[in-house]
Symmetry: C2
Subunit: 345 residues, 2 copies
């Protein structure tokens, strides 16, 4: 079986993108084959069957030719992203056949991962494995590091979260409630606003698309001002937040999804608030905090099992849905964490 | 003598300002008188003779009607700002006649300061007293807190300072050199650039007015990128810096003088660098760090006395020069720390 060559469909970038990506910028390639074992003599490698692939906003950066940030995807090669996979063969001391893992893998049915730098063995399988693309994976660590490490919350503080029903926002909001904060979120549809209020327990929520004046909307939600802003969108929203921040407020700059597809990014005009209100704005990437992953799991698993935190996923079926799924997160069509099921567990 | 009523000239704001302030927005009022003692029954007060008044960029904020930040100056009343004064009469336990102090005072010849919240007794008079408007006063504390507390410098790091020959910038640059950093500054004239290189010992300096492309200028000065940016100007310069920052760089947001006089502030477009390069940008005000003042003096005084740090002042004579002096810092006409001598010591 493991010597067998099987077909290995993949999702690849056809060309580098400027502006808004289209489905035709991506392609499904069905002509590949792969042998289901680690090649002879290849050390510290695993051959995996990909089960779930994660659609993450930062991936847009890798679809551009180069802006000096993340390295661009290689054209024609499978996209690289977070996923959950089953180990089929291993020469890596930490993994054996039958193990599950999450981390960087390819957007294809089977991947050979050599010297994996970001791959975590899944030790707890009594929760949906797909959660390791979300609340128990990179988005969970993003929420954890951003909220607890960067924002240093105190009970009673006022917390605002943009893109609040997304993969990360919904977790931050629930963490903030568990920390005794007052929490407001914004999202782009009535359905999402209802989720924030009724499923995730936010104190207040609004549909930013229906607010002609974002500064006024935030003033209404936060008459006392904002202590903590979990920044997922950037642009105009950031300006509105800065005007409403309190002295020594903190901004965890997690993402700026409103800006990734613009050829010329919006200007943020009122940065002088950062000076005069002594605001700390800090960008961060989850990977920098992965040493805290065991501590995070220790906190998050019981919350999940006791139902104190819930997680909403938006699951697409089949690798073929990869291109449309990835693009959906830039138009906000997804409701909750967007992921693709490649194969049943 | 102390019962005597004397004339008390003052500099006052005539009207609130939008856009660029003009000398005619300010006025000298010569008709006041004052009795040179603390009024009977007024506790914890000092009556001072003002010697030096400090021209500081943040004062522009107080010249606007209100933007929710600093409280506006009262029209017709003396401007409030940092200064050095001699105590003529005191009911405050910390001060006696003949003492010198620095802190918040009025732009007038004599001031009654009741319950002073920011006033420091000057214990060391073997340095020019005017330095207490600069390197030994608020600007010195700004440089100290911003560089050491916010930027957490490490030997060998790459440091960039805008408005580098100003009251704060010249100190930060010298601190950075003493910390073993590579230091580049920018300023707006050849004379200032020469000061940076020859007097303050910067490794490199450039005239930003002669650079058609600020991003390219910084790339030239920092082929390896910038670890620490001491932000004094904002706007376009900040965008150019963000493009050149290194991973986990730090920005001390001390001021954004290029923006204070604009009716519509410039947009900063590339804030996504903050996310992907995990940059920390932090606003701060010196006053938040005044508990560190004794520690700061312990460091700064020996450096000054040994000539390891020098300080360049731009001194105007007489209260009448107040309006033009204050305005000069917004056009960059000053060379070094701008201050006004009201009276000889």
């Amino acid at each position: 079986m493991s010597d067998q060559e099987v077909s290995n469909k993949r999702v690849a970038l056809k060309n580098y993108v400027t502006g808004f990506p289209k489905e035709s910028d991506l392609q499904i390639i069905t002509t590949d084959t792969i042998r289901l074992r680690v090649p002879e003599g290849t050390k510290d490698a695993v051959l995996v069957k990909n089960l779930y692939l994660s659609c993450d906003p930062y991936m847009r950066e890798r679809m551009s030719a180069s802006d000096g940030g993340f390295p661009p995807f290689e054209l024609g090669k499978p996209l690289i992203g977070y996923g959950v996979a089953k180990i089929l063969d291993s020469t890596h001391p930490n993994y054996k056949k039958g193990d599950f893992a999450w981390g960087f893998t390819g957007w294809e049915e089977y991947s050979l991962i050599v010297s994996p730098q970001i791959l975590f063995k899944i030790e707890h399988t009594d929760v949906p494995l797909s959660y390791y693309t979300g609340i128990l994976g990179m988005p969970g660590m993003t929420a954890y590091a951003g909220f607890y490490e960067i924002c240093t919350p105190k009970k009673g503080e006022y917390v605002y979260i943009s893109a609040a029903s997304g993969a990360v926002g919904q977790i931050v909001g629930q963490f903030a409630k568990l920390s005794g904060c007052y929490v407001v979120g914004s999202a782009g549809s009535k359905e999402k606003v209802d989720l924030l209020k009724n499923t995730f327990g936010f104190d207040e929520a609004f549909n930013y698309k229906e607010e002609p004046d974002l500064t006024a909307a935030l003033k209404r939600c936060f008459p006392e001002g904002i202590d903590i802003y979990f920044e997922n969108v950037g642009g105009k929203m950031l300006d509105a937040v800065l005007a409403n921040m309190r002295i020594r407020g903190r901004i965890a700059a997690c993402g700026m999804i409103s800006q990734y597809n613009l050829e010329k990014r919006e200007g943020v005009h009122d940065l002088t608030h950062i000076v005069f209100k002594e605001i700390r704005m800090q960008g961060f990437l989850a990977a920098t905090y992965y040493h805290l992953y065991p501590k995070f799991l220790e906190m998050a698993l019981p919350y999940l099992k006791q139902g104190k935190i819930v997680y909403v996923e938006d699951i697409a079926e089949g690798l073929e849905s990869g291109p449309s799924s990835l693009l959906s997160i830039f138009t906000g069509k997804n409701v909750g964490k967007k992921l693709v099921v490649v194969a049943p567990e």
